[in-house]
Amino acid sequence: MSTPLLAVQGLRTYFSMSEGVVKAVDGVDFNVDENETFCVVGETGCGKSVTALSIMRLIFHPGKIVEGKVIYKGTDLLKLPENEMRNIRGKEIAMIFQNPMRSLNPVFTIGDQISEAPIAHFHSPRKEAWKSAIELISKVRMPDPEIRAKSYPHVLSGGMRQRVMIAMMISCEPSLLIADEPTTSVDVTIQAQIMDLLLDIKKKRKMSMMLITHNFGLVAEMGDRAAVMYCGKVAEIGSVKEIFREPLHPYTRGLLKCLPVGFERKKELEVIPGTLVSPVNPPQGCRFSPRCNLVMGKCKLEEPILTRQGRDHLVACHLYGGK
């Protein structure tokens, strides 16, 4: 097995708030291989976005990456000086964000914003960059690219803006594209189009994609491998096939059971009781223990660590001897 494109090891990112230290990401490990779609799944607040931002080193005060390694193509990104990290952002690793409505600068044209990254990274002359921008606009399946390039973001709908984001971020042909809930804020019909587009781009450019989502349907459709996160830690990780075939962690099982599959009428929807623990003062032991229906005494004392349970399947749970 070749070396992974991206290896995250022991990542911890904490935020110093007035209420205390929020441990948004508290010991996360996973790998993303070349040419694969890696999904990071979990509830809102579990730390998936912060993980992505930490990889890009876009964590600002009061947040700080306190520990860990992010090894990309052999180099630990967390140890790079800022100006070298800038070469990585946008050029090697790119990220598209959740809220397209506010993610584009309102005072610059679309063409301007798409050509910006190539100009900055490759010093392309303006005219060439503009032409490439127009090509990219048509690649992301927007009509009238020449006209679009001259317009401003506010005339575009959410779905269109997301396409512009994609165009912007693939302009320098990155090896890894991180997509943070790219379709959460758009209509369902547009969702399908955007995901289709992303898949197409990924295939054509042999790009790896790290898809962050809380939508298991997307994971099933698009993911090669996935990590289930809970309260800043990875609960289960492995190939999508194995996870769906045999979910091991009680949390994963609970999530999958929550999906209203089968449309059985008059049957109550399943829920996972309880709510997330406070990220400021996580309980001792396993973080899921307060809500777990298979909880044991050990769970409240010791934190489980990831153990291998299958060819490509790891889980952090005492049920499987995690210690």
Partner: protein
């Protein structure tokens, strides 16, 4: 009352006739309005001079004071606010905002008096009243104006800059791998300065108001001082005229502000249909 105490009834009637006060009220208003439009503001009760003459004569003095102050305060204040915003939470932010708060909390007229005492009386560097010393006599009044204004524009610039830097599109710019200079100067500044620039135009009428105080303190022969004197002497034609001029100025500046906003912000311009 205006014509003196020991005036005869006939004299009063004569005056009333010459000022049109014997006409029905709506006709009076009509004549007044018609005259205003044509620039005829009538005659001062006190000096018998045409009001427009009085105002024209004093306008340059007021502008001499207010325009440089406004420009200077924004030129100095805005960068100060931006530097504070970029160094948010650090010592330069506290320092800049502390000094700014201090001047912002200060009554302008008191500042004028303090400057007079220090620079005019003790150090004797600058004159404390009148326009006799040429450029020198401009210094203290302009300083009195500018310092609180610097505080004001710095605060606005800082607030807008902090707000802008927290926007999603700035995060997008960072994610593209652009240099800090590009992100701040190109992406952030261009947005943050829009409301600041509009404020510049909207501030101008407010400055004229402050002129009343500063000109009175420094005995500066501008429109502000004229307004002050006219109110004391109940010189109604002058008061009306000045208020009207200011009102027109307010409307003009508002329109100008709107134009500037539309020029700088593509969202406000008339656009074609959305996609």
């Amino acid at each position: 009352m205006i014509a003196g105490d020991r005036v005869t009834k006939e004299r009063v009637a004569e005056l009333r006739k010459s000022w049109g006060l014997d006409q029905p009220i709506y006709l009076q208003f009509f004549y007044w309005f018609a005259k205003m439009i044509t620039g005829d503001f009538g005659y001062s009760f006190v000096t018998q001079q045409p009001v427009s003459f009085l105002i024209w004569g004093r306008l340059p003095y007021t502008l001499e004071l207010t325009l440089p102050s406004l420009l200077l305060s924004y030129v100095l204040g805005v960068p100060l606010g931006i530097i504070a915003a970029l160094g948010r939470g650090k010592s330069r932010d506290y320092l800049a905002m502390g000094v700014s708060n201090f001047f912002y909390s200060m009554p302008t007229y008191w500042l004028g008096l303090m400057l007079m005492i220090v620079f005019g009386l003790y150090l004797r560097w600058f004159p404390i009243s009148g326009t006799n010393a040429g450029l020198g006599s401009l210094v203290l009044p302009i300083l009195t104006y500018t310092l609180p204004l610097i505080a004001f524009s710095a605060r606005i610039a800082r607030t807008e800059m902090i707000e802008t830097m927290g926007e999603d599109y700035i995060r997008t710019a960072w994610a593209k791998g652009l240099s800090s200079a590009r992100v701040v100067l190109k992406h952030a500044l261009r947005n943050a300065l829009i409301p600041v620039t509009v404020m510049f135009f909207l501030d101008f009428p407010w400055i004229i108001g402050g002129a009343v105080i500063v000109e009175t303190v420094f005995s500066w022969p501008g429109m502000g001082q004229l307004l002050y004197k006219s109110i004391i002497q109940l010189d109604y034609p002058v008061i009306q005229a000045i208020v009207l001029v200011i009102a027109i100025l307010v409307v003009l500046c508002n329109i100008l502000g709107d134009i500037v906003a539309a020029t700088l912000d593509p969202r406000i311009r008339i656009e074609r249909a959305s996609v």
